[in-house]
Protein backbone atom coordinates (compact mmCIF):
# COMPACT_ATOMS: atom_id res chain seq x y z
CA UNK A 1 0.00 0.00 0.00
CA UNK A 2 1.30 3.45 -0.90
CA UNK A 3 0.02 5.99 1.55
CA UNK A 4 -0.15 9.74 1.25
CA UNK A 5 -1.22 12.56 3.49
CA UNK A 6 -3.58 15.21 2.16
CA UNK A 7 -3.86 18.36 4.25
CA UNK A 8 -6.41 21.09 3.64
CA UNK A 9 -6.11 24.42 5.39
CA UNK A 10 -8.11 27.58 4.87
CA UNK A 11 -11.27 29.57 5.45
CA UNK A 12 -14.29 27.33 5.94
CA UNK A 13 -16.82 27.22 3.14
CA UNK A 14 -19.51 24.91 1.76
CA UNK A 15 -18.34 21.80 -0.07
CA UNK A 16 -14.63 21.57 0.72
CA UNK A 17 -14.77 17.91 1.72
CA UNK A 18 -17.12 17.10 -1.16
CA UNK A 19 -14.83 18.61 -3.77
CA UNK A 20 -11.68 17.03 -2.37
CA UNK A 21 -13.36 13.62 -2.04
CA UNK A 22 -14.77 13.80 -5.57
CA UNK A 23 -11.29 14.46 -6.91
CA UNK A 24 -9.86 11.56 -4.91
CA UNK A 25 -12.62 9.18 -6.08
CA UNK A 26 -12.13 10.17 -9.72
CA UNK A 27 -8.49 9.22 -9.40
CA UNK A 28 -9.10 5.93 -7.59
CA UNK A 29 -7.55 7.21 -4.40
CA UNK A 30 -9.01 5.47 -1.37
CA UNK A 31 -9.49 7.39 1.88
CA UNK A 32 -8.23 5.50 4.93
CA UNK A 33 -8.66 8.10 7.63
CA UNK A 34 -9.99 11.62 8.02
CA UNK A 35 -9.62 14.03 10.88
CA UNK A 36 -11.02 17.52 10.70
CA UNK A 37 -11.50 20.52 12.94
CA UNK A 38 -12.67 24.09 12.59
CA UNK A 39 -10.87 26.63 14.72
CA UNK A 40 -12.13 30.24 14.61
CA UNK A 41 -13.65 29.77 11.16
CA UNK A 42 -10.56 28.06 9.81
CA UNK A 43 -10.96 24.68 8.25
CA UNK A 44 -8.22 22.18 9.05
CA UNK A 45 -8.35 18.67 7.63
CA UNK A 46 -5.95 15.79 7.33
CA UNK A 47 -6.61 12.68 5.30
CA UNK A 48 -4.58 9.53 5.03
CA UNK A 49 -5.15 8.10 1.57
CA UNK A 50 -4.05 5.08 -0.43
CA UNK A 51 -2.62 5.86 -3.86
CA UNK A 52 -1.70 2.30 -4.86
CA UNK A 53 -4.22 2.24 -7.74
CA UNK A 54 -3.41 5.66 -9.04
CA UNK A 55 -3.35 5.76 -12.85
CA UNK A 56 -1.24 8.89 -13.27
CA UNK A 57 2.02 10.30 -11.97
CA UNK A 58 1.93 11.21 -8.30
CA UNK A 59 3.55 14.57 -9.07
CA UNK A 60 0.57 15.38 -11.33
CA UNK A 61 -1.80 14.66 -8.43
CA UNK A 62 0.19 17.09 -6.27
CA UNK A 63 -0.19 19.78 -8.95
CA UNK A 64 -3.87 19.11 -9.53
CA UNK A 65 -4.71 19.14 -5.83
CA UNK A 66 -2.85 22.42 -5.52
CA UNK A 67 -5.00 23.78 -8.39
CA UNK A 68 -8.18 22.45 -6.79
CA UNK A 69 -7.23 24.22 -3.57
CA UNK A 70 -6.88 27.50 -5.44
CA UNK A 71 -10.35 27.03 -6.97
CA UNK A 72 -11.93 26.43 -3.56
CA UNK A 73 -9.85 29.11 -1.88
CA UNK A 74 -7.97 26.84 0.53
CA UNK A 75 -4.46 25.45 0.70
CA UNK A 76 -4.22 21.76 -0.23
CA UNK A 77 -1.02 19.78 0.09
CA UNK A 78 -0.50 16.21 -0.93
CA UNK A 79 2.64 14.54 0.39
CA UNK A 80 4.02 11.02 0.55
CA UNK A 81 3.56 9.61 4.04
CA UNK A 82 7.25 8.75 4.52
CA UNK A 83 8.29 12.30 5.33
CA UNK A 84 6.07 12.29 8.43
CA UNK A 85 6.78 8.68 9.29
CA UNK A 86 10.55 9.22 9.19
CA UNK A 87 10.43 12.40 11.17
CA UNK A 88 8.13 11.27 13.96
CA UNK A 89 8.73 7.53 14.31
CA UNK A 90 11.85 5.69 15.33
Amino acid sequence: MKKCIVTVLGKDTVGIIAKVCTYLAENEINILDISQTIVQGYFNMMMIVDVTHLKKDFTDVCDEMDELGKEIGVNIRCQREEIFEKMHRL
Binding site: M46, Q79, F84, K86, H88
Partner: protein, 454 residues
Protein backbone atom coordinates in the same frame (compact mmCIF):
# COMPACT_ATOMS: atom_id res chain seq x y z
CA UNK B 1 -0.67 5.91 12.39
CA UNK B 2 0.52 9.45 11.78
CA UNK B 3 -1.67 11.99 13.55
CA UNK B 4 -2.77 15.48 12.70
CA UNK B 5 -0.45 17.09 15.23
CA UNK B 6 2.61 15.47 13.70
CA UNK B 7 1.60 16.38 10.17
CA UNK B 8 1.03 20.00 11.08
CA UNK B 9 4.34 20.16 12.99
CA UNK B 10 6.26 18.97 9.94
CA UNK B 11 4.43 21.29 7.57
CA UNK B 12 4.89 24.21 9.93
CA UNK B 13 8.64 23.54 9.91
CA UNK B 14 8.64 23.61 6.12
CA UNK B 15 6.34 26.58 5.61
CA UNK B 16 7.25 28.89 8.45
CA UNK B 17 10.63 27.82 9.79
CA UNK B 18 12.60 27.40 6.57
CA UNK B 19 13.13 23.65 6.89
CA UNK B 20 14.63 22.47 3.65
CA UNK B 21 17.14 20.12 2.17
CA UNK B 22 19.94 22.50 1.32
CA UNK B 23 21.57 20.44 -1.35
CA UNK B 24 21.64 17.15 -3.19
CA UNK B 25 25.21 16.94 -4.39
CA UNK B 26 26.10 14.33 -6.94
CA UNK B 27 29.74 13.33 -6.68
CA UNK B 28 31.22 12.24 -9.99
CA UNK B 29 34.66 10.70 -10.30
CA UNK B 30 36.55 11.99 -13.33
CA UNK B 31 39.50 9.64 -12.91
CA UNK B 32 38.46 7.66 -15.98
CA UNK B 33 38.52 10.85 -18.09
CA UNK B 34 42.26 11.38 -17.70
CA UNK B 35 43.99 11.85 -21.05
CA UNK B 36 47.24 13.46 -22.15
CA UNK B 37 45.46 15.29 -24.95
CA UNK B 38 43.75 18.42 -23.63
CA UNK B 39 40.91 18.49 -26.17
CA UNK B 40 40.19 14.85 -25.60
CA UNK B 41 40.24 15.37 -21.83
CA UNK B 42 37.76 18.24 -22.11
CA UNK B 43 35.49 16.17 -24.32
CA UNK B 44 35.52 13.21 -21.92
CA UNK B 45 34.84 15.41 -18.90
CA UNK B 46 31.87 17.10 -20.58
CA UNK B 47 30.47 13.77 -21.71
CA UNK B 48 30.81 12.07 -18.34
CA UNK B 49 29.23 14.88 -16.35
CA UNK B 50 26.34 15.43 -18.75
CA UNK B 51 25.66 11.67 -18.85
CA UNK B 52 25.86 10.81 -15.15
CA UNK B 53 24.07 13.98 -13.98
CA UNK B 54 21.44 14.27 -16.69
CA UNK B 55 18.56 13.33 -14.37
CA UNK B 56 19.85 15.05 -11.23
CA UNK B 57 17.73 18.18 -11.42
CA UNK B 58 14.52 16.49 -12.55
CA UNK B 59 14.87 13.78 -9.86
CA UNK B 60 15.37 16.49 -7.25
CA UNK B 61 12.29 18.33 -8.44
CA UNK B 62 10.15 15.17 -8.35
CA UNK B 63 11.20 14.38 -4.78
CA UNK B 64 10.53 17.98 -3.81
CA UNK B 65 6.97 17.76 -5.08
CA UNK B 66 6.12 14.30 -3.80
CA UNK B 67 7.29 14.90 -0.25
CA UNK B 68 6.49 18.58 -0.15
CA UNK B 69 9.99 19.49 1.02
CA UNK B 70 12.01 22.15 -0.79
CA UNK B 71 15.39 21.01 -2.11
CA UNK B 72 17.16 24.30 -2.57
CA UNK B 73 20.19 23.28 -4.60
CA UNK B 74 21.19 20.50 -6.91
CA UNK B 75 24.94 20.43 -7.36
CA UNK B 76 27.86 18.41 -8.56
CA UNK B 77 31.21 17.67 -6.97
CA UNK B 78 34.07 16.16 -8.94
CA UNK B 79 37.53 14.69 -8.44
CA UNK B 80 40.08 17.44 -7.81
CA UNK B 81 40.97 18.83 -11.21
CA UNK B 82 44.69 19.11 -10.41
CA UNK B 83 44.78 15.29 -10.58
CA UNK B 84 42.56 14.99 -13.64
CA UNK B 85 44.42 17.63 -15.63
CA UNK B 86 47.93 16.63 -14.57
CA UNK B 87 48.76 14.71 -17.76
CA UNK B 88 47.29 17.22 -20.21
CA UNK B 89 47.75 20.67 -18.64
CA UNK B 90 51.18 22.23 -18.92
CA UNK B 91 50.20 25.81 -18.08
CA UNK B 92 47.58 27.57 -15.92
CA UNK B 93 45.74 28.51 -19.14
CA UNK B 94 45.32 24.82 -19.97
CA UNK B 95 43.52 24.38 -16.66
CA UNK B 96 41.26 27.34 -17.42
CA UNK B 97 40.05 25.46 -20.50
CA UNK B 98 38.85 22.68 -18.18
CA UNK B 99 37.09 25.28 -16.03
CA UNK B 100 35.19 26.47 -19.11
CA UNK B 101 34.23 22.88 -19.93
CA UNK B 102 32.95 22.32 -16.40
CA UNK B 103 30.95 25.54 -16.56
CA UNK B 104 29.32 24.42 -19.81
CA UNK B 105 28.56 20.98 -18.38
CA UNK B 106 26.99 22.54 -15.27
CA UNK B 107 24.81 24.78 -17.43
CA UNK B 108 23.76 21.83 -19.57
CA UNK B 109 22.55 19.72 -16.62
CA UNK B 110 21.03 22.71 -14.81
CA UNK B 111 23.07 22.80 -11.59
CA UNK B 112 24.02 26.12 -10.04
CA UNK B 113 27.46 25.09 -8.79
CA UNK B 114 30.08 22.49 -9.59
CA UNK B 115 32.81 22.02 -7.00
CA UNK B 116 36.18 20.37 -7.37
CA UNK B 117 38.33 22.85 -9.22
CA UNK B 118 40.70 21.88 -6.48
CA UNK B 119 44.19 20.85 -5.47
CA UNK B 120 45.23 18.79 -2.45
CA UNK B 121 48.64 20.04 -1.40
CA UNK B 122 48.80 19.49 2.34
CA UNK B 123 52.38 18.23 2.18
CA UNK B 124 53.75 19.30 -1.18
CA UNK B 125 52.77 20.69 -4.56
CA UNK B 126 53.27 18.99 -7.93
CA UNK B 127 53.78 21.17 -10.99
CA UNK B 128 50.18 20.39 -11.90
CA UNK B 129 48.90 21.45 -8.46
CA UNK B 130 50.76 24.73 -8.74
CA UNK B 131 49.48 25.39 -12.26
CA UNK B 132 45.92 24.75 -11.12
CA UNK B 133 46.25 27.06 -8.13
CA UNK B 134 47.75 29.78 -10.33
CA UNK B 135 44.85 29.39 -12.77
CA UNK B 136 42.18 29.95 -10.09
CA UNK B 137 41.82 33.76 -10.48
CA UNK B 138 41.26 33.53 -14.23
CA UNK B 139 39.08 30.42 -13.93
CA UNK B 140 36.78 32.04 -11.36
CA UNK B 141 36.63 35.30 -13.28
CA UNK B 142 35.69 33.63 -16.55
CA UNK B 143 33.12 31.16 -15.26
CA UNK B 144 29.84 31.37 -13.34
CA UNK B 145 29.35 28.02 -11.68
CA UNK B 146 32.81 26.79 -10.74
CA UNK B 147 33.80 26.45 -7.08
CA UNK B 148 37.40 26.02 -6.16
CA UNK B 149 39.24 24.78 -3.09
CA UNK B 150 42.78 24.09 -1.98
CA UNK B 151 43.67 21.80 0.92
CA UNK B 152 46.88 23.19 2.38
CA UNK B 153 47.20 21.24 5.60
CA UNK B 154 46.11 18.26 7.65
CA UNK B 155 46.67 16.82 11.11
CA UNK B 156 48.68 13.99 9.55
CA UNK B 157 50.93 16.09 7.33
CA UNK B 158 51.19 19.50 8.95
CA UNK B 159 50.72 22.75 7.04
CA UNK B 160 52.27 23.41 3.66
CA UNK B 161 53.34 27.01 4.22
CA UNK B 162 54.51 27.42 0.61
CA UNK B 163 50.93 26.70 -0.42
CA UNK B 164 49.58 29.03 2.27
CA UNK B 165 51.79 31.83 0.93
CA UNK B 166 50.69 31.14 -2.63
CA UNK B 167 47.01 30.99 -1.62
CA UNK B 168 47.21 34.42 0.02
CA UNK B 169 48.39 35.81 -3.31
CA UNK B 170 45.75 33.85 -5.23
CA UNK B 171 42.93 35.14 -3.01
CA UNK B 172 44.16 38.66 -3.68
CA UNK B 173 44.46 38.07 -7.45
CA UNK B 174 41.00 36.50 -7.56
CA UNK B 175 39.63 39.57 -5.81
CA UNK B 176 41.29 41.81 -8.39
CA UNK B 177 40.07 39.67 -11.28
CA UNK B 178 36.45 39.96 -10.11
CA UNK B 179 36.54 43.47 -8.65
CA UNK B 180 33.60 44.70 -10.76
CA UNK B 181 31.36 42.32 -8.81
CA UNK B 182 32.64 43.10 -5.29
CA UNK B 183 35.37 40.47 -5.68
CA UNK B 184 32.76 37.74 -5.95
CA UNK B 185 35.34 35.21 -7.18
CA UNK B 186 36.69 34.87 -3.64
CA UNK B 187 33.25 33.69 -2.44
CA UNK B 188 33.87 30.60 -4.55
CA UNK B 189 37.36 29.84 -3.27
CA UNK B 190 37.97 27.93 -0.03
CA UNK B 191 41.32 27.16 1.60
CA UNK B 192 41.08 24.03 3.77
CA UNK B 193 42.83 22.09 6.46
CA UNK B 194 41.66 18.45 6.82
CA UNK B 195 39.23 18.80 3.88
CA UNK B 196 36.65 15.98 3.83
CA UNK B 197 36.25 13.87 0.68
CA UNK B 198 32.46 13.79 0.83
CA UNK B 199 31.38 17.32 1.65
CA UNK B 200 28.17 18.22 -0.23
CA UNK B 201 28.30 21.95 0.60
CA UNK B 202 29.78 24.57 -1.68
CA UNK B 203 32.15 26.19 -2.19
CA UNK B 204 34.38 23.51 -0.69
CA UNK B 205 32.82 20.39 -2.22
CA UNK B 206 34.94 17.94 -4.17
CA UNK B 207 34.86 14.17 -4.57
CA UNK B 208 37.89 12.54 -3.00
CA UNK B 209 39.84 9.79 -4.75
CA UNK B 210 38.73 7.28 -2.13
CA UNK B 211 35.12 7.62 -3.28
CA UNK B 212 33.06 5.53 -5.73
CA UNK B 213 32.49 6.42 -9.39
CA UNK B 214 29.31 8.33 -8.53
CA UNK B 215 27.73 9.00 -5.17
CA UNK B 216 24.82 11.02 -3.74
CA UNK B 217 25.59 13.22 -0.74
CA UNK B 218 22.93 15.34 0.90
CA UNK B 219 23.20 18.43 3.05
CA UNK B 220 20.29 19.33 5.31
CA UNK B 221 19.58 22.62 6.96
CA UNK B 222 17.22 24.02 9.52
CA UNK B 223 18.55 26.79 11.77
CA UNK B 224 15.03 28.26 11.77
CA UNK B 225 13.55 25.03 13.11
CA UNK B 226 16.07 24.85 15.96
CA UNK B 227 15.47 28.52 16.80
CA UNK B 228 11.68 28.03 16.98
CA UNK B 229 12.05 24.90 19.12
CA UNK B 230 14.33 26.75 21.54
CA UNK B 231 11.79 29.56 21.96
CA UNK B 232 9.72 27.03 23.90
CA UNK B 233 12.45 26.33 26.47
CA UNK B 234 13.41 29.90 27.40
CA UNK B 235 14.72 30.08 30.95
CA UNK B 236 14.98 26.31 31.30
CA UNK B 237 18.17 24.43 32.31
CA UNK B 238 20.87 23.12 30.02
CA UNK B 239 19.53 19.59 30.12
CA UNK B 240 16.25 20.65 28.57
CA UNK B 241 18.02 22.96 26.14
CA UNK B 242 20.26 20.16 24.91
CA UNK B 243 17.39 17.70 24.66
CA UNK B 244 15.45 20.14 22.51
CA UNK B 245 18.36 20.72 20.12
CA UNK B 246 18.98 16.98 19.83
CA UNK B 247 15.36 16.16 19.09
CA UNK B 248 15.13 18.88 16.48
CA UNK B 249 18.41 17.88 14.84
CA UNK B 250 17.11 14.32 14.68
CA UNK B 251 13.94 15.36 12.87
CA UNK B 252 15.79 17.58 10.44
CA UNK B 253 18.37 14.92 9.63
CA UNK B 254 15.70 12.28 9.08
CA UNK B 255 14.36 14.35 6.22
CA UNK B 256 17.84 14.48 4.72
CA UNK B 257 18.23 10.74 5.06
CA UNK B 258 14.86 10.16 3.39
CA UNK B 259 15.67 12.45 0.48
CA UNK B 260 19.14 10.94 0.09
CA UNK B 261 17.70 7.41 -0.02
CA UNK B 262 15.05 8.39 -2.55
CA UNK B 263 17.48 10.22 -4.82
CA UNK B 264 19.89 7.33 -4.65
CA UNK B 265 17.23 4.73 -5.51
CA UNK B 266 15.74 6.77 -8.36
CA UNK B 267 19.06 7.58 -9.99
CA UNK B 268 20.63 4.18 -9.35
CA UNK B 269 23.60 5.86 -7.72
CA UNK B 270 24.83 4.79 -4.27
CA UNK B 271 24.07 6.97 -1.27
CA UNK B 272 27.17 8.39 0.40
CA UNK B 273 26.46 10.52 3.43
CA UNK B 274 24.11 13.01 5.00
CA UNK B 275 25.85 16.17 6.16
CA UNK B 276 23.88 17.39 9.15
CA UNK B 277 25.18 20.93 9.22
CA UNK B 278 23.05 23.85 10.33
CA UNK B 279 23.50 26.00 7.25
CA UNK B 280 22.05 29.50 7.40
CA UNK B 281 20.80 31.64 4.52
CA UNK B 282 20.39 35.41 4.39
CA UNK B 283 16.61 34.92 4.88
CA UNK B 284 15.25 36.19 8.20
CA UNK B 285 14.60 33.27 10.55
CA UNK B 286 17.22 31.04 8.91
CA UNK B 287 20.15 32.10 11.04
CA UNK B 288 22.63 30.31 13.31
CA UNK B 289 23.33 33.63 15.06
CA UNK B 290 19.66 33.85 16.04
CA UNK B 291 19.90 30.40 17.68
CA UNK B 292 22.86 31.56 19.76
CA UNK B 293 20.93 34.67 20.73
CA UNK B 294 17.93 32.54 21.65
CA UNK B 295 20.22 30.46 23.88
CA UNK B 296 20.90 33.64 25.82
CA UNK B 297 23.36 35.98 24.15
CA UNK B 298 22.40 39.61 23.67
CA UNK B 299 24.30 39.54 20.40
CA UNK B 300 26.41 36.87 18.79
CA UNK B 301 30.05 37.70 19.58
CA UNK B 302 29.34 38.53 23.21
CA UNK B 303 31.23 36.62 25.92
CA UNK B 304 29.70 33.15 26.10
CA UNK B 305 29.38 32.84 22.34
CA UNK B 306 32.08 30.19 21.96
CA UNK B 307 30.63 28.05 24.74
CA UNK B 308 27.09 28.34 23.39
CA UNK B 309 28.28 27.43 19.90
CA UNK B 310 30.31 24.47 21.19
CA UNK B 311 27.24 23.12 22.92
CA UNK B 312 24.99 23.73 19.90
CA UNK B 313 27.42 22.02 17.56
CA UNK B 314 27.76 18.98 19.80
CA UNK B 315 24.03 18.56 20.34
CA UNK B 316 23.33 18.86 16.63
CA UNK B 317 25.77 16.01 16.03
CA UNK B 318 24.37 13.89 18.84
CA UNK B 319 20.82 14.27 17.58
CA UNK B 320 21.78 13.88 13.96
CA UNK B 321 23.93 10.76 14.07
CA UNK B 322 21.06 8.54 15.11
CA UNK B 323 18.88 9.82 12.29
CA UNK B 324 21.14 8.72 9.48
CA UNK B 325 23.05 5.54 8.74
CA UNK B 326 26.01 7.49 7.36
CA UNK B 327 26.88 10.94 8.58
CA UNK B 328 29.80 12.73 6.99
CA UNK B 329 30.97 15.86 5.28
CA UNK B 330 31.35 18.79 7.62
CA UNK B 331 28.41 18.20 9.97
CA UNK B 332 28.08 20.94 12.55
CA UNK B 333 27.02 24.56 12.61
CA UNK B 334 28.15 26.89 9.85
CA UNK B 335 28.95 30.48 10.68
CA UNK B 336 29.29 32.25 7.31
CA UNK B 337 28.99 35.95 7.98
CA UNK B 338 27.46 37.22 4.74
CA UNK B 339 24.97 34.35 4.55
CA UNK B 340 23.50 34.86 8.01
CA UNK B 341 21.40 37.93 8.82
CA UNK B 342 22.09 37.60 12.55
CA UNK B 343 25.86 37.58 11.94
CA UNK B 344 25.61 40.62 9.66
CA UNK B 345 23.61 42.49 12.31
CA UNK B 346 26.16 41.54 14.98
CA UNK B 347 29.01 42.92 12.86
CA UNK B 348 27.05 46.15 12.35
CA UNK B 349 26.40 46.42 16.06
CA UNK B 350 30.13 46.06 16.75
CA UNK B 351 29.67 42.82 18.66
CA UNK B 352 31.32 40.37 16.28
CA UNK B 353 34.97 40.66 15.29
CA UNK B 354 37.31 38.60 13.16
CA UNK B 355 39.15 37.43 16.28
CA UNK B 356 35.94 36.22 17.95
CA UNK B 357 34.97 34.42 14.77
CA UNK B 358 38.34 32.71 14.83
CA UNK B 359 37.71 31.50 18.37
CA UNK B 360 34.27 30.25 17.32
CA UNK B 361 35.81 28.17 14.53
CA UNK B 362 37.67 26.12 17.14
CA UNK B 363 34.41 24.54 18.24
CA UNK B 364 32.28 24.29 15.13
CA UNK B 365 32.43 23.58 11.45
CA UNK B 366 33.90 25.13 9.42
CA UNK B 367 35.97 28.26 9.61
CA UNK B 368 36.33 31.90 8.72
CA UNK B 369 33.58 31.83 6.15
CA UNK B 370 32.28 34.53 3.82
CA UNK B 371 34.00 37.36 5.60
CA UNK B 372 34.52 40.58 3.67
CA UNK B 373 37.73 42.40 4.54
CA UNK B 374 39.25 45.63 3.19
CA UNK B 375 40.54 45.35 -0.38
CA UNK B 376 43.84 46.87 0.66
CA UNK B 377 44.68 43.91 2.93
CA UNK B 378 48.04 42.50 1.83
CA UNK B 379 48.51 38.99 0.48
CA UNK B 380 50.82 38.12 3.38
CA UNK B 381 48.20 39.19 5.94
CA UNK B 382 45.63 36.99 4.18
CA UNK B 383 48.18 34.14 4.26
CA UNK B 384 48.67 34.83 7.98
CA UNK B 385 44.93 34.53 8.63
CA UNK B 386 44.86 31.33 6.57
CA UNK B 387 47.82 29.91 8.54
CA UNK B 388 46.12 30.66 11.87
CA UNK B 389 42.95 28.92 10.81
CA UNK B 390 44.84 25.94 9.39
CA UNK B 391 46.71 25.60 12.69
CA UNK B 392 43.40 25.40 14.55
CA UNK B 393 42.28 22.59 12.25
CA UNK B 394 45.58 20.77 12.39
CA UNK B 395 45.88 20.76 16.16
CA UNK B 396 42.22 20.05 16.87
CA UNK B 397 41.96 17.29 14.24
CA UNK B 398 39.01 18.98 12.60
CA UNK B 399 38.18 20.56 9.28
CA UNK B 400 38.78 24.28 9.12
CA UNK B 401 38.50 26.56 6.15
CA UNK B 402 39.02 30.14 5.10
CA UNK B 403 36.81 31.96 2.64
CA UNK B 404 37.83 35.59 2.86
CA UNK B 405 36.79 38.24 0.38
CA UNK B 406 39.16 41.20 0.20
CA UNK B 407 36.73 43.54 -1.54
CA UNK B 408 38.80 45.64 -3.93
CA UNK B 409 38.07 49.37 -3.64
CA UNK B 410 36.14 49.01 -0.38
CA UNK B 411 37.12 49.54 3.21
CA UNK B 412 35.74 49.23 6.74
CA UNK B 413 32.29 50.83 6.85
CA UNK B 414 31.38 49.81 3.29
CA UNK B 415 29.15 46.93 2.28
CA UNK B 416 29.88 44.15 -0.20
CA UNK B 417 26.97 42.70 -2.16
CA UNK B 418 27.27 39.13 -3.49
CA UNK B 419 23.65 38.32 -4.29
CA UNK B 420 21.43 35.28 -3.79
CA UNK B 421 22.46 32.68 -1.22
CA UNK B 422 25.89 34.31 -0.89
CA UNK B 423 24.26 37.36 0.69
CA UNK B 424 25.93 40.65 1.59
CA UNK B 425 28.49 41.64 4.18
CA UNK B 426 29.87 44.66 5.97
CA UNK B 427 33.64 44.95 5.53
CA UNK B 428 35.31 43.86 8.77
CA UNK B 429 38.54 45.36 10.08
CA UNK B 430 41.71 43.25 10.01
CA UNK B 431 44.63 43.58 12.43
CA UNK B 432 47.02 45.86 10.55
CA UNK B 433 50.31 44.64 12.00
CA UNK B 434 52.28 42.60 9.47
CA UNK B 435 53.49 38.99 9.37
CA UNK B 436 55.63 39.18 6.21
CA UNK B 437 58.75 37.64 7.70
CA UNK B 438 56.77 34.68 9.05
CA UNK B 439 54.91 34.04 5.80
CA UNK B 440 58.01 34.40 3.61
CA UNK B 441 59.71 31.44 5.34
CA UNK B 442 59.91 28.44 3.01
CA UNK B 443 58.73 24.89 3.71
CA UNK B 444 56.08 23.49 5.98
CA UNK B 445 54.97 23.37 9.58
CA UNK B 446 55.48 19.79 10.83
CA UNK B 447 52.55 17.64 11.90
CA UNK B 448 51.67 17.96 15.61
CA UNK B 449 52.88 15.34 18.07
CA UNK B 450 49.43 13.86 18.62
CA UNK B 451 49.16 12.93 14.95
CA UNK B 452 51.53 10.00 15.48
CA UNK B 453 49.00 7.41 16.44
CA UNK B 454 50.44 4.29 14.81
Amino acid sequence: MINMYEVSETNKMIEHENLDVRTITLGISLLDCIDSDLDELNRKIYEKITTVAKDLVSTGQDIEKEFGIPIVNKRISITPISLIGAAACKTPEDFVSIARTLDRAALQVGVNFIGGYSALVSKGMTASDENLIRSIPQALAETERICSSVNVGSTKTGINMDAVRLCGEIVKETAEATKERDSLGCAKLVIFCNAPDDNPFMAGAFLGVTEADAVINVGVSGPGVVKKALEKVRGKGFEELCETIKKTAFKVTRVGQLVAGEASARMGIPFGIVDLSLAPTPAVGDSVAEILEEIGLERVGAPGTTAALAMLNDQVKKGGVMASSYVGGLSGAFIPVSEDQGMIDAVHAGSLTLEKLEAMTCVCSVGLDMIAIPGKTSASTISGIIADEMAIGMVNQKTTAVRLIPVIGKDVGDMAEFGGLLGYAPIMPVNEFGCDAFISRKGRIPAPIHSFKN
